[in-house]
Symmetry: C2
Subunit: 235 residues, 2 copies
C-alpha cells in the first residue's frame, strides 16, 4: 500500500489545486467551475461560518450531489485553499509603496485585517504550512517588495510577514469577539473567570480586569511598534 514505484499508473500523487488543470480536453462541458464552487463556499462561510462549508452543503446549494464536486476539487482542503486565496485577492496591492518599510507594512496589515473582519471564517481556517495560492503569492511579493531595501536575510523577511499575519489574525479575532453575540460557551467561560478571580487569588488578573479602559485604535500603533522592533532601518 502507499506509494507505488514506477510501473503501474501512479496512484494520484497529491498535487495542489493550483497545479492541477481545471478541466481536461475530452469530455462534455462542465456544468460548474472552480470559481463557482469558491463563490458559493465563501458565501456560505460568510453567512454561517466555516463549519457550514461542507461538501454536501455546497453541493446542495449548487443543486447537485456531493460526489460531483470531486470533479472540480480533490477534497475539502482544496476548497479551503480556493476560499483563502479568493479573499486574499480582495487585498488591494496597487497601493504604491513609500519605500519606508514600517508604514508600508502597517498599511498592508490594516487592509489585511479588513478582509479578516469581512470574512471572519478566515481566522478559523487551519493554518497549513504554506497555504499559498496565486493571490497569496502576489501578497507575499508585495510585502517583500516593501522590505526590498532592508538588510535582512530572506528567511527572516518571510518570518516577519508570517508574524505580521499572525498579529492581524489575533487582532481581528479580538475585534470580532467584541461585536459578536456571546455563544453561551464564552459566557460560561467568562462566568467561571469572574467567579474564580473573585475568590481572591490572582490579584493581578483581577486588577487587569478592573481597569479595562476601551482603547480603540491600537492596532495601527501596535503594528508599527512591533515592526519597528523587527525591521532594521534601511541603509
Amino acid at each position: 500500500m502507499g506509494t507505488e514505484e514506477a510501473g503501474g499508473p501512479v496512484a494520484q500523487e497529491p498535487v495542489t489545486v493550483w497545479a492541477r488543470p481545471e478541466r481536461g480536453a475530452r469530455g462534455p462541458a462542465a456544468v460548474h467551475s472552480r470559481a463557482e464552487l469558491t463563490t458559493v463556499a465563501v458565501q456560505l462561510a460568510d453567512e454561517s461560518g466555516l463549519s457550514a462549508v461542507s461538501m454536501r452543503h455546497v453541493a446542495r446549494v449548487l443543486g447537485t450531489g456531493p460526489a460531483s464536486l470531486y470533479r472540480y476539487v480533490s477534497g475539502r482542503d482544496d476548497l479551503l485553499d480556493l476560499m483563502a486565496d479568493a479573499v486574499t485577492g480582495e487585498i488591494d496591492l496597487d497601493v504604491p509603496l513609500s519605500g519606508d518599510p514600517v508604514p508600508d507594512l502597517a498599511a498592508l496589515a490594516v487592509r489585511t485585517k479588513a478582509v479578516h473582519l469581512r470574512h471572519p471564517w478566515l481566522s478559523d481556517i487551519p493554518p497549513e504550512p504554506l497555504r499559498l495560492g496565486p493571490r497569496g503569492l502576489n501578497y507575499l511579493e508585495y510585502a517583500l517588495r516593501a522590505m526590498a531595501g532592508v538588510p535582512l536575510p530572506g528567511g527572516t523577511k518571510m518570518e516577519i510577514v508570517a508574524l505580521m499575519n499572525a498579529l492581524v489574525t489575533q487582532f481581528a479575532r479580538a475585534e470580532l469577539r467584541g461585536g459578536g453575540a456571546d455563544t453561551g460557551r464564552q459566557a460560561a467561560q467568562a462566568a467561571y473567570l469572574n467567579e474564580t478571580v473573585a475568590r481572591g487569588d490572582h490579584p493581578h488578573v483581577a486588577a487587569a480586569l478592573a481597569d479595562r479602559t476601551e482603547t480603540e485604535p491600537v492596532f495601527d500603533r501596535t503594528m508599527r511598534r512591533v515592526l519597528t522592533g523587527l525591521v532594521p532601518p534601511t541603509q
Copy 2:
C-alpha cells in the same frame, strides 16, 4: 426551543468543565476520572496528532464505549479544554521575576514554546475566545505580575499576553515544520511555489527564497524586540 425561562427544569445551560463538579454525591464510584481521560487524550495527541483525539478513540483506549465519556465530560470541547490546561500546567511558574518585564516575559515565552514543541497539537486547538482553565489562569497571573510596574491599562496588558502567545505559536509551528517529514501535501505546495516562482514574476519572493540562511536562535531576540516595542519602561 432554546433558552427556557424559569419554571421548568433548566435545559442544561452550558457551563465550563471547570465550573461543573467532577462527581455527584449519590451514585456508584466512577471507574475513570477526568484526569485519566485527559492523560489518555494528551498521549493520543502526542503520538498521532489532535485528530486522533476522538471520543471513540479515547473510549477504546479506556476500554469502554463512547457514551461513557459523557459522564465525565460534556463533549469533545471539554476534553480539549482539559488537555490545553493540563499542558499549560507544565510551564514552570516558580521562576522568580527580576522585575524587568521584557526579559521576564521573554523567558516565560521560551518556556511556553518548549511546551508547544513537546505537544505540537497545542497549536492545532481551535483558539476559542477565553479557553482559560485553572492552570491558564495561573499563567496569566504570572505574566501580569511580570508587568506589575508597567503603566499600561489592564486590557492592553492582556492583549500583550495574547500577542505574546500568538508569537510563540507562530515560532513553534515554524520550528516544527523544519523537523517534521513532509506530508506530501506541503511537498506539493512547495513544488507549486518553486514552479511558479521560476516563471519569473515575483522576483522578490525568488530572492527571499534564494538567500535563506539558517538563522537559529532568533526566537529570544525577536521576542525581546517585540516586547521592547510594546512595553513602556517601568517608571
